[in-house]
């Protein structure tokens, strides 16, 4: 509202307090990660990077990071391909005919992952997908589809349907229209969806707790064990790395949106 009617002092105070409540606890892990002590605390005599060193030289942590990364990449590919095609299809076919599909796409966002996780635990057993890379990729990929559908649908809402008609009218086939007209226009939406699908998989813990045990030990799983067993500053170092990584991805997304809006 462009500051025409600024909020009063009470509202402003509560808003500031809330913003601090949201941000400060996250920032607190930074000094804790830099502590020179062996236990979780603020730095006493100086700043030290040894806990970062511990994490970045530990084969367990690195192994989990790599595993989480590859799973997230594979799951993102699955989500992006299925989600993008689905969003385009729903966009082009009438609203009423695809209502069921759209509702279906919302289920993974609404139904708690604990319910899905116990379901998968039983479902994957006979399929031999428990504790398998493929199993986790499928679980994360399928639940990531809605994020892509939403961002791509948003991008498509701004897409002029006459461009598609123009392309078809000039003789372009469905796949030519997709590749040359629709996809380049909605690319920012797809990248946005990919970023969210990636973060979704990268952070996902509940499903992994049920469908993975030893062979697949993702980063969130290792953090979970760390919090429950030994609270040491190395955990804080991991937390800092994760915060930087997520923030970086979000900034990339923001920059991308700004560019596509500006251009």
């Amino acid at each position: 509202m462009d500051g025409i009617h600024p909020p009063g002092p009470a509202a402003r105070g509560l808003a500031w307090a809330t913003a601090l409540y949201l941000v400060l606890p996250i920032l607190i892990v930074l000094p804790v990660a830099l502590t020179d002590q062996r236990f979780l605390s603020l730095p006493q005599d100086g700043v030290s990077f040894r806990h970062f060193e511990t994490v970045l030289t530990s084969p367990e942590w690195l192994g989990s990071i790599w595993q989480s990364f590859t799973i997230a990449v594979a799951a993102t590919v699955l989500s992006v391909v299925a989600g993008t095609l689905c969003a385009i299809g729903c966009w082009r076919i009438s609203r009423r005919a695809t209502e069921l599909v759209r509702v279906l796409m919302l289920l993974p966002l609404i139904i708690p992952s604990i319910v899905y996780a116990i379901g998968l635990y039983r479902y994957f057993g006979p399929l031999g997908l428990l504790d398998r890379f493929a199993g986790v990729v499928i679980a994360h990929g399928v639940t990531g589809i809605p994020y892509v559908v939403i961002t791509v649908s948003t991008a498509l809402a701004a897409f002029d349907p006459r461009l598609e008609q123009a392309a078809r009218g000039m003789g372009a086939s469905l796949s030519q229209t997709l590749r040359w007209v629709i996809l380049p226009r909605i690319a920012p939406g797809i990248v946005s969806g990919a970023i969210f699908a990636f973060i979704h998989s990268w952070d996902e813990l509940v499903m992994v707790l049920f469908i993975a045990s030893r062979n697949v030990f993702t980063l969130p799983r290792r953090i979970w064990d760390g919090i429950n067993e030994n609270l040491d500053p190395a955990m804080a170092a991991v937390a800092v790395l994760l915060i930087l990584f997520t923030t970086g991805l979000l900034m990339a997304d923001r920059a991308l949106r700004r560019r596509s809006e500006g251009g």
Binding site: D160, Q165, A166, G169, G171, Q176, R185
Partner: protein, 362 residues
């Protein structure tokens, strides 16, 4: 190039959306190389007809023929029709040249062939210097010409234009009308245009089809439609008109005399049986201001109710004793008088000026 023109046939075309009938049994032929305009108010079904011809709308009934061959079931990309969309639908992520090259690219033409044709097409619309610009860097008129070049570059069987000039301001529209007309003559293809702008339709078209409520009301050359409107709607929509209603008093071989109010109006038209009710359309510019004792086939007297100056002339609203209110437009050179409210005037028109029209079907 006239061999490039194809004939389009529309046969009994009907489109219903649920209980709403957008197009109601329209049949129309467009000759080779003809410039046909579908004219009507919004909701008259003109755009739906164009979309059915293009293949974007599946007709509920009827068929579309190209040179007598049925093309109704073909998808749009198989029809080889060029189309200029309302708002142009230029691809915003492609340069002007890439936009124009698009239809050639989808047809698998080699790069060299594409470049040559694109250059020729851009030269045709005088945009050769703008090939590398993005659409948003062009003015509205330039974008419109890119859309034209893109629609013509692949030598389409037919060029379809959906309100091609509606997004432009009035002056530019007049300029582009001229250009579009010249382009049509140059390429010799069959053009089908959709508009709600009657001036545009009159100045551009070889033939106009007037639509209302999904039905074809009348089709013909612009002059024919203007001079001989078939119904009240056509007379009213295409230009302005006075309407005079009455009963045939006497009739002979040359025409009839209509009794309207206390007036007797001579009409030169095919005779009608005495006593039948007829409706006349009388264009305001066909009414003349009579001086002194000057005579005419029909003369009425009245007083000026209101007047306005148009630059090229005057528009008068005259309250007559016998026919009620009449509208007349007078060329400025003829109006050697100073109009004023309440001024008594004599108006006259020839027996050919008023033409009988039908009441609109409900």
């Amino acid at each position: 190039m006239s061999a490039a023109g194809h004939a389009l046939g529309i046969l009994g075309l009907t489109k219903r959306y649920g209980s709403f009938t957008a197009v109601d049994d329209v049949s129309l032929d467009v000759g080779q190389g003809e410039f046909l305009t579908l004219l009507g108010p919004s909701g008259s079904g003109k755009t739906t007809i164009l979309m059915a011809v293009a293949g974007f709308v599946a007709p509920t009934a009827g068929s579309i023929l190209l040179d007598g061959r049925e093309i109704t079931p073909l998808p749009p990309e198989k029809r080889n029709f060029g189309m200029v969309f309302q708002g142009y639908a230029l691809f915003p992520h492609m340069s002007v040249a890439e936009n124009v090259a698009f239809p050639l690219r989808v047809r698998g033409l080699s790069r060299a062939d594409r470049e040559a044709k694109v250059r020729a097409a851009l030269d045709l619309v005088q945009l050769g210097a703008f090939a590398e610009r993005l659409p948003k860097q062009l003015s509205g008129g330039q974008q419109q010409r890119v859309a034209l070049a893109r629609a013509l570059v692949f030598e389409p069987n037919l060029l379809l234009l959906d309100e091609p000039l509606s997004a432009l301001d009035k002056k530019l529209r007049a300029e582009l009308q001229e250009e579009l007309k010249a382009l049509h003559r140059r390429v010799g293809r069959t053009f089908v245009n959709v508009t709600h702008d009657q001036e545009e339709a009159l100045s551009l078209s070889d033939r106009i089809a007037i639509l209302n409520h999904g039905r074809l009301i009348q089709a013909g050359a612009p002059g024919e439609l203007y001079e001989r409107p078939r119904t009240r709607f056509v007379a009213d929509f295409l230009g302005k008109s006075n309407f005079i209603e009455g009963a045939v008093a006497t009739a002979d071989a040359a025409g009839f005399v209509l009794a309207a109010g206390t007036a007797r109006i001579a009409v030169r038209a095919p005779a009608a049986p005495e006593g039948t009710r007829r409706l006349l359309s009388l264009r305001p510019e066909k009414i003349a201001l009579l001086a002194g004792e000057e005579a005419a086939d029909n003369v009425v007297e009245g007083r000026i109710l209101a007047w306005s100056y148009l630059g090229s002339g005057f528009a008068l609203r005259v309250e007559t004793a016998s026919l009620g209110e009449l509208r007349a437009t007078l060329p400025a050179w003829q109006a050697a008088f100073a109009p004023a409210e309440g001024l008594p005037v004599r108006l006259g028109w020839s027996a050919e000026a008023a033409v009988p029209v039908e009441e609109d079907a409900p």
